[in-house]
């Protein structure tokens, strides 16, 4: 399946629009889902996916299969775009207090994502080993696209603490997943 996607990407690099369409048919719904968890607004998620496909089309030739899967590459674009959009919208929030409130009602999607990970998979096992609040920090960043500051607000800890928790959690995760 992922090999198919890599081939489709290569065809996009040659200018074959049908291949982009094939990627769209296959991945669009999943991309909207990933973008929605971050930006939480349907029409914005759609705008993001629109931009993602334009990016895929323009940058297909830069995809390097020796570095990783085609799917990983494409979903990294989805998350990048969604996170930039989220940062832009949160800057538009009038007060720091509203920003705080916006962060505080986050977390459900993160917990949900964790629950849905396949039992016994390496990622689930390694995330389980993290202390629950630290695990939530990692998930809030990846699944919901929160910044260090927002994660600190959500976890109710100082910014410095949130940063060092994330730093150490990543080091632990990497060791566990190696």
């Amino acid at each position: 399946m992922s090999d198919d996607l890599a081939e489709l990407l290569q065809a996009c690099a040659r200018g074959e629009r049908n291949s982009l369409r094939a990627i769209y048919e296959r991945e669009c719904a999943a991309m909207i889902g990933v973008a929605m968890r971050i930006v939480r607004r349907r029409e914005l998620a759609e705008e993001i996916v629109h931009d993602v496909f334009v990016q895929i089309w323009r940058h297909a030739r830069t995809f390097d299969p020796s570095l990783g899967s085609a799917r990983g590459w494409m979903f990294a674009i989805v998350r990048n775009r969604a996170i930039s959009a989220l940062r832009t919208t949160s800057r538009e929030l009038p007060t720091a207090e509203e920003e705080l409130t916006a962060a505080v009602d986050r977390g459900a999607e993160s917990e949900n994502a964790f629950d849905k990970l396949a039992e016994g998979s390496a990622l689930k096992r390694c995330l389980e080993r993290l202390e629950p609040r630290r695990r939530l920090g990692v998930l809030l960043a990846y699944v919901e696209g929160l910044s260090h500051g927002e994660i600190a607000a959500r976890l109710g800890v100082p910014l410095g603490t949130a940063k060092s928790w994330l730093h150490r959690s990543l080091a632990q995760l990497r060791e566990c997943l190696a």
Binding site: R17, L20, R21, Y24, C28, A29, A30, I32, G33, V34, A35, M36, R37, R42, E46, E47, I48, V49, H50, D51, V54, Q55, W57, R58, H59, D64, L67, G68, S69, R71, G72, W73, F75, A76, R79, N80, R81, S84, A85, R87, T88, N112, A113, K116, L117, A118, L123, V138, L139, A141, Y142, V143, S147, H148, L166, H167, L170, A171, R174, L177
Partner: protein, 238 residues
């Protein structure tokens, strides 16, 4: 590189993959990422490690118009380096060479253009529907935009525009205030470029502008960076 640096880089790559790096920290990392293969590998490995989380999102339904919108943006975003012979404005500008170096304000430049168009009338070059002289903050002419009847738009920079690493120039037009600026395309440096758009309107008094955006274009489909130059279109008097 010693063991500690390598471990730090790994965590840094993880933070980058998570989207946690911001501001200058991110810029420094991205600059290194372009050059350092080892770092690219670290980032890719983090993506693979965490990819299973992407699969846990509930799928969302796209509106039926989404594909159509994507398709019409594909042409618009692709700025092919123009291989054709010098276009109309460029010939014009070259023929105006003797004016170069003279200091004049944008308004005066527009006037000169209007006069000079007469010099070139009759040449067998497709003529644009509208021409805009984009002015920089100090109102000197920065670029010419020509919009043609077939939807193609040609940009001819008249000066260098410094583009920091990781950034690009995005060309926009505003023809409907309610709709907001629409992206015409992206270029990595101030060079002559032709954009094929899905026949955007090209009318007199329509605004064209160039903003500084991330290398992959504005993430939100609207200008996010500073406006480097802008100008209103006028119909050439031929």
């Amino acid at each position: 590189m010693n063991e500690t640096d390598r471990r730090d880089d790994n965590v840094l790559a993880g933070e980058f993959a998570l989207g946690l790096l911001e501001g200058s920290e991110r810029e420094v990392f991205e600059r290194r990422l372009v050059r350092e293969r080892a770092l690219q590998t670290e980032v890719a490995q983090w993506r693979e490690r965490l990819a299973a989380l992407d699969a846990t999102a509930s799928p969302g339904r796209a509106s039926p118009q989404l594909w159509g919108k994507i398709e019409s943006s594909l042409g618009a975003r692709r700025a092919a380096v123009d291989e054709a012979r010098p276009g109309w404005a460029e010939q014009l500008w070259t023929s105006l060479g003797f004016w170069r170096g003279a200091s004049f304000a944008g308004a005066a430049a527009s006037l000169m253009l209007a006069i000079a168009v007469g010099l070139l009338a009759g040449r067998a070059t497709p003529q644009p529907l509208v021409v805009a002289v984009l002015q920089t903050g100090d109102t000197s002419p920065g670029a010419i935009v020509e919009a043609f009847g077939d939807g193609s738009i040609v940009l001819v920079p008249l000066r260098d525009i410094p583009v920091p690493p990781g950034k690009a120039l995005e060309v926009w037009t505003l023809y409907d205030k309610a709709r907001g600026p629409v992206s015409i395309g992206l270029i990595d440096s101030a060079r002559r470029a032709r954009f094929q758009t899905a026949s955007l309107p090209a009318r007199a008094e329509q605004l064209y502008e160039i903003t500084l955006e991330p290398a992959t274009g504005s993430p939100i489909g609207r200008p996010t960076g500073p406006v480097l130059m802008k100008g209103l279109a006028a119909t050439p008097r031929l």
